[in-house]
Symmetry: C2
Subunit: 278 residues, 2 copies
């Protein structure tokens, strides 16, 4: 899926919502824990309930790897389910991978070929040869960490370069945008970092941004749209815990659906105000 | 295993060699490809052949994830085999993970509890809360990327901080060394980066360093030891392809054994010169 096709999906769904499948086993409803593949069963119900309102889904690999082989089975079942029932959905592996070139190539193979994701989040610390293997697939995306939503973002990402004056996250964008195109690179910009959204848009006016951190982490959707939306939308905004764990009773899917719908409706208003949809 | 215990193992084996199990399926000998778990069979023979000469093994996760669930099965079998037959070996998951705090906690669980590694390589870009979950386990280690061995290291790792004057890799060490102890943190310093080894040792004189990049990537062992060895050895030097793929005939294990022995013998000389062993 290229950027234009992604924008079309966003307009169809009137939503730039990405639902984060941070499906931590200990937090899923008790009634599912006796299933053979409890995390997959949970995901399936969350996906069925939220699919009318979500353009993208983003499983974070940690929640699957924590259970080793069994976790990977649940991940694989989830991806296959989405592909079969919701073929238009944009699927992001939140894996934050990155290694020397010949190794990153294998990670790209893992997520794009073996499992069949559309995009993978990539850590930029190791530079060009660690990122480029992810940008060489037609219709697939590297989602590069620029400015993350967590407290630790302040440790290194704001480091100001003595030569050139850019902060590290700006330097990451300024360099890495040449390692692919606006059809193969997105950037992660945390929803808690809206004061820097203008700086990001100055360097990457046309790139899609993946914005995690609304909901449980406290980011503000209207502010993100005001500062980050471009005329191709240019945003995928992620919510995880505030949707999938909004309720832990047997009604969890219904409540998740309502939470996703609330966000989608706010998104539709913001897109209408911007003139992207009517 | 704490630092003192690791140093004891190094003295016993007269070796600070780490063998990288970058066991790419397409490169393993044809005679193994028909086995039920070909990568595990390959690893088993490599481990049996090199165990007299190696203190540590380091599977790089990419080579396993590339095959999804099947890859994780091969990884798990490999770790279980080492734990059963070579319980004293130090096992590093070369995974380069790192995520927001509550997520990194799950990665730590995956590698330390679910699979049973001694150490995990960790990417520092996301800062303190992304690293600390890995340093909170007694006897387990976060191996933090400081200066990597690849070409892309030059993109961001040498960025000079306008305030304080440190380069990014130095800033990573200067800050992160307070996120654990010399019993829970090591640093990755590429063997191709020996000109910076002195700067690393100035900031981290007592930490163990994991040094990849000798062999196929061209790093020089004697130079690494001269600049990086401390009086607890303080080094694990990794070789991967130059050992495990030295030969691809049916004699691959024998040749791998010889290659590992050559490195071990050079290491024994370097440790003797330093006065660490007799």
């Amino acid at each position: 899926m290229n950027a234009k096709e992604l924008f079309e999906k966003i307009k169809e769904k009137r939503s730039f919502l990405c639902v984060g499948l941070d499906s931590e086993f200990s937090k899923i409803p008790e009634c599912l824990k006796r299933e053979q593949h409890p995390v997959f069963e949970f995901n399936k119900r969350i996906i069925d309930a939220t699919a009318p309102y979500a353009t993208a889904y983003k499983p974070n690999l940690a929640f699957y790897e924590a259970f080793g082989v069994a976790g990977w089975v649940n991940l694989r079942l989830t991806v296959d389910y989405v592909r079969e029932h919701y073929p238009d959905v944009f699927l992001i592996a939140d894996a934050k991978r990155g290694d020397i070139g010949n190794t990153s190539r294998l990670y790209a193979k893992a997520f794009f070929e073996t499992v069949g994701f559309d995009a993978v989040t990539v850590a930029p610390y190791m530079g060009e040869d660690s990122v480029k293997p992810f940008t060489g697939y037609s219709g697939k995306w590297a989602v590069i960490l620029a400015l993350t939503s967590n407290r630790g973002a302040s440790n290194f990402q704001y480091t100001e370069d003595k030569y050139g004056g850019l902060m590290l996250f700006e330097k990451v964008i300024a360099q890495s945008k040449h390692w692919g195109t606006t059809d193969s690179i997105m950037y992660v910009v945390g929803a808690t970092q809206t004061d820097m959204m203008t700086a990001v848009r100055k360097l990457a006016p046309d790139h899609f941004l993946l914005v995690p951190g609304i909901g449980a982490q406290g980011g503000n959707l209207a502010e993100i749209a005001r500062l980050g939306m471009n005329d191709q939308c240019g945003l995928l905004v992620n919510a995880s815990r505030s949707i999938i764990f909004a309720d832990t009773s047997e009604n969890f899917a219904e409540i998740a659906s309502r939470k996703a719908m609330e966000i989608q409706q706010e998104m539709a208003c913001l897109m209408t105000e911007k003139g992207l949809i009517r």
